[in-house]
Symmetry: C2
Subunit: 787 residues, 2 copies
Amino acid sequence: MPNSLSPDLLQKMHAYWRAANYLSVGQIYLQDNPLLDSPLRLEHIKPRLLGHWGTTPGLNFLYVHLNRLINENDLNMMYVIGPGHGGPGIVAQTYLEGSYTERYPAIERNRNGLQKLFRQFSWPSGIPSHVSPETPGSIHEGGELGYSLVHAYGAAFDNPDLIVACIIGDGEAETGALAASWHSNKFLNPARDGVVLPILHLNGFKIANPTVLARISRQELTDLMRGYGYEPHFVEGDDPALMHQSLAGTLDTVLAKIRQIQDVACSLGPAETQKRPRWPMIVLRTPKGWTGPKVVDGKAVEGTWRAHQVPIADFKNPEHLRQLEEWMKSYNVHELFDEQGQFRGELAALAPTGHRRMGSNPHANGGELLEPLTMPHFHDYALEMLQPGSVKAEATRVLGSFLRDVMKHNLDKKNFRLFGPDETASNRLEAVFEVSGKEWMADIEALDVDLSVDGRVMEVLSEHLCEGWLEGYLLTGRHGLFSCYEAFIHIIDSMLNQHAKWLKVSKGIPWRKPIASLNYLLTSHVWRQDHNGFSHQDPGFIDHVANKKSDIVRIYLPPDANCLLSVADHCLRSRHYINVIVAGKQPEWQWLDMDAAVRHCAAGAGIWHWASNESGDPDVVMACAGDVPTLETLAAVSVLRTYVPDIRIRVVNVVDLMVLQPVSEHPHGLEDHDFDALFTIDKPVIFAFHGYPTMIHKLTYRRHNHHNIHVRGYKEEGTTTTPFDMVVLNNLDRYQLALDAIERIPRLNHEVETARARYRNTIERHKRYIGEHGDDMPEVRDWRWEL
Amino acid sequence: MPNSLSPDLLQKMHAYWRAANYLSVGQIYLQDNPLLDSPLRLEHIKPRLLGHWGTTPGLNFLYVHLNRLINENDLNMMYVIGPGHGGPGIVAQTYLEGSYTERYPAIERNRNGLQKLFRQFSWPSGIPSHVSPETPGSIHEGGELGYSLVHAYGAAFDNPDLIVACIIGDGEAETGALAASWHSNKFLNPARDGVVLPILHLNGFKIANPTVLARISRQELTDLMRGYGYEPHFVEGDDPALMHQSLAGTLDTVLAKIRQIQDVACSLGPAETQKRPRWPMIVLRTPKGWTGPKVVDGKAVEGTWRAHQVPIADFKNPEHLRQLEEWMKSYNVHELFDEQGQFRGELAALAPTGHRRMGSNPHANGGELLEPLTMPHFHDYALEMLQPGSVKAEATRVLGSFLRDVMKHNLDKKNFRLFGPDETASNRLEAVFEVSGKEWMADIEALDVDLSVDGRVMEVLSEHLCEGWLEGYLLTGRHGLFSCYEAFIHIIDSMLNQHAKWLKVSKGIPWRKPIASLNYLLTSHVWRQDHNGFSHQDPGFIDHVANKKSDIVRIYLPPDANCLLSVADHCLRSRHYINVIVAGKQPEWQWLDMDAAVRHCAAGAGIWHWASNESGDPDVVMACAGDVPTLETLAAVSVLRTYVPDIRIRVVNVVDLMVLQPVSEHPHGLEDHDFDALFTIDKPVIFAFHGYPTMIHKLTYRRHNHHNIHVRGYKEEGTTTTPFDMVVLNNLDRYQLALDAIERIPRLNHEVETARARYRNTIERHKRYIGEHGDDMPEVRDWRWEL
């Protein structure tokens, strides 16, 4: 390959790289003497040495080369890095290009700024040692590994002008999420979407072990990448001069290939039949801790796992101090920075300018680009009803029509997508297919339906990919919704954690603008797993979410279709939250007309007067949250009225779970007097809940009437069985709720024994019936409200 | 390829396959008339049609062929199936071979048994529609997809005689866990371990979409499998006669290759340098719903996603009834079963016998094979101390020595392994490397240390693989421990769910014997992320675990090294639990000598009299759970004594979190009077907790003194900062705890304002100090107990 770089350019790029490496080492080690103006002394070294050197020089090397590519080709490029602990490198690079100082003016581009830049790193209340929301140009939290590539694809969707350079750590590549992410190329359309350029960084080692991909043959690695649908280009070595030319030449080749793919695709247009291209990718093999100390205390460091964090420590050993100084001086700092500590102009000129700088790419601060969705009026999709409980409907099917039109109204903006693991139709949202197909760039056959190279519904049997694509899409300023089976959303518990952390931290950074909320629709929920049984039951995701910072999370349990519409509209308009909506997909009785639903959802919880018969004080509050618990509660009220006609019942429904918390704990929390107005301060409350009962206790333990709140919910019982048997197995059935109420109303003491006997008989009859008939007794298929 | 099967054998195997398919269809559809003795009528059909046909004929096809291979070669083979919804197929096969009736004698091998077999499937209180603990021969819960291959590898480790045939669904193959699992071959030693034979079943479709791997080119799929380190063998088609010969020939070829690999490896021996072989795998491409109805209601079914569940439904349509009858009759049932409904002898003779039947393989009922570990005496590893708080130690390092000897004492049994995502040394457990290396079959280089082809420490940067390997290892009757960073264990939340479900259900199955517990050591915990900061903080895994069935889960928070030893010993001896141990790895003050630790851990919670100074009634109970909260609590006691000398303090430490629950909720729960004896019924309790504070409330809300329990814990605050600053950020620091106590003791009302001012000053001083020095104030580096 002829040399891509002139000797002058090569020499300058090499200097630029040395500058970035110098700043990276400085951040890890120095609290003073940033330009080594005086001999290095112990007091210049930070008291606590925290940071990661190993991956940093490789990341810096790439950044310098991508800068050249951007400049020469006027590229719109983002930099997503999987080896997040390369934080010092990205901070150094964005400082050198000027992006950093624009975001943080106190970190000036002079000696004083360098001093602060070094000191703030891994310093209390400074910046973390890995890429994080504080890092300009990043959409990627560098803590937990595995999500770089899937975020990169999410960023590239619907951004045809964008190239997302994605650096994948070879350790990270061992994770499940990353291993699955390579197949994202079957869901990216070169005529409509941007480009992801995966760069697998074979750094060789993790914390303590070699990496798998660095220890398989080059042939196997080539096969693996080709099997994933990429064409690998190898850049391998440790001699900087050779490596500069090799990487530069490879990037030129790769960009030409990308342009060729795009030209072919654009000549066809996004909606036309596209053949999935073989996208290029790069394998960069460099020594871990490249340019760092080769040997410390007689042990090899460069090129080994010992370079992972802080290669030289324990500065009580004077030899170590000397060795650090020698290492830092090897970068020839005074060739790089002038006497004021300013990066020398002829080097600084290598960086792109303005928004072309990767640290200033607007897509990496998605909130700034965010445009609100054009929303249809959700009232138009309302289910008509003459009275509560008079019609049945599939709530998510009703929502599907609304989502179809959200999709339709925003087709031209190209800023809304729906994500799901093969379940959009199963979850009854298939109306969206009337306006958009499922994105599919793998082979299409004659029998296929609803697949499209230009689809905006993203279906793949991987919750990791759905979640990661959506996160990347949101972080770059777009909108979306993820529908998932309730039990299996736990697969992305940890990804949710990282996104919640991102939202929390970015709220405290003035230049980070709010992004669209991460919206989950959990359906096919715990109570209706007739097909699947126990293995598909778990309502605990909301417990996980409720642990996150209260100004970030919202949990909604709409009891019927109209409430679901109201909640969904609210969530799609909201910003910077994690919204979890739990709603069933099976035909169920409907309760509120649209006006009532809107009022109810706005309040978050309320008395359902039409279902209550209290006059003044109730005997009991029958509370419920969730569609199935609401059905059983209303049926229990019917049972109670039949057997204890003079009982005074208040029905309270909770749709916004966070209202139960004290207002001091959550912004949606009800004031105590409002809570008391709903739940009384002294009456028994029988609370039928969708999830684990302890959730209600942990939300309400500070409330006045907490000791009277008796919760029924999921208690880890279930199998492949009938809908009614599921509630019976978990003691959430109408008969149990009615018995609970009678047992807790003192003036009904004389009824208790009769009620218990009746309960036992009914349940025995139920067991016999389903054993014989394999289906529910007719009497429990309705809610049997006695008007 | 010459034909492997004689015409007679082919004809019989085909009949056997038809029998399995017939029984599968029968399970999905029929409640009566199992042999179609009379014309099919509506009342023979189940009222609720739940089940999955699509994947079943392919699974049946494989089972019949593996039976031949077992018989002809006397193989010890297990059958792990990823497409778990092929449940009816595996039930049919184990019935045909006789394993099923041995486990469930009521399901006789005659007409009466067939009737029951059909009816119980997806019938209330019958059996689920997917593979589950009820299924003989299974170690694999077929609900959530993605874990078949990693379980298969776990089963194969240390079972050199075993071949695990693992059927991977092409939908399942899209998941993160499965995509990563292929690389498990870098951790399996052919001289010591068994064999995993992956069979990728290209069934073509998921619920509603084609699968990615079925829609890439054969070349790409070949490359992918070669890249993962396998040699793919393709068996593709839909003509049964050709497919029988093709699969039979391929299996013979593959077995020969496996034997060759094993011969080479065994000639070297397990500890010698092994070259990683290229293991064979099979790609089986058959139509989804093969042999089922080709067209229903004018729409193609066989070979499409419409065959996924119940291909024909709605039997109010008489044409559907006719079509079902025609379908079932196409298998020629009377050729297969005699007039008594018994499987014909010449066909039944094709099945292996005894333990060679895959439904009776002893490894699939691991509890039966389980041998207890030979345990060193944990007292021998005790940390000596003269008095509480006089020495510092790294608790997990102390544990490491104990684990080293657990490893050593069981080397000859080959039944103990340690699992971790690249963190064994980081978590200070590296003493184990003195007796066993880290398993590594990829390339080894000169600089590497502690790697071994014969290692028993399993390290890979994938929590999914660590968890799945360990589950497979435990389910086949062995022992292990998984050490993990606390925050990132959420990655396997959903896998834990499935394992917990397996344990719960298998407890109710008499022939399933208890297996060794799934033991987690969570270290590098939330309070000590000096390096990593906020992204590495989350103590919520224990919340997730606490939602599981109480007779399955145990959570331990040992406050020091000796307690950790005692707890770990207990966990490694226990059966059929999920044990979570949370313990820090940093140097911390030590509190209990071994005798005290043993007593404390046996009680689960107790008053630390040496730290208390109550005489009679205390003014306040200072409670704590977790190592860092214990440190801060004891320091708070020191602070209180200094400033309020006459205060009467009781210190209560909780090591077994489940003691806090009522005994009605958890078998470890304290009786109310015992709880009251610790926490009083009326004194303020300041509870310093390792995790989210609501956890303590949800465990204790029924206790008498609950309204007096004031909990401090993690509230989602943190960054890269000092250890003490982390507790300050979350209001868990000693000064806050002391202030909390003073504020809640009525007789100290006059102290409150002074105390608050002192608190504010101290925190301001702290903030200034760490801002200037980058490290903690000297005064908080000790716990400063005043004797």
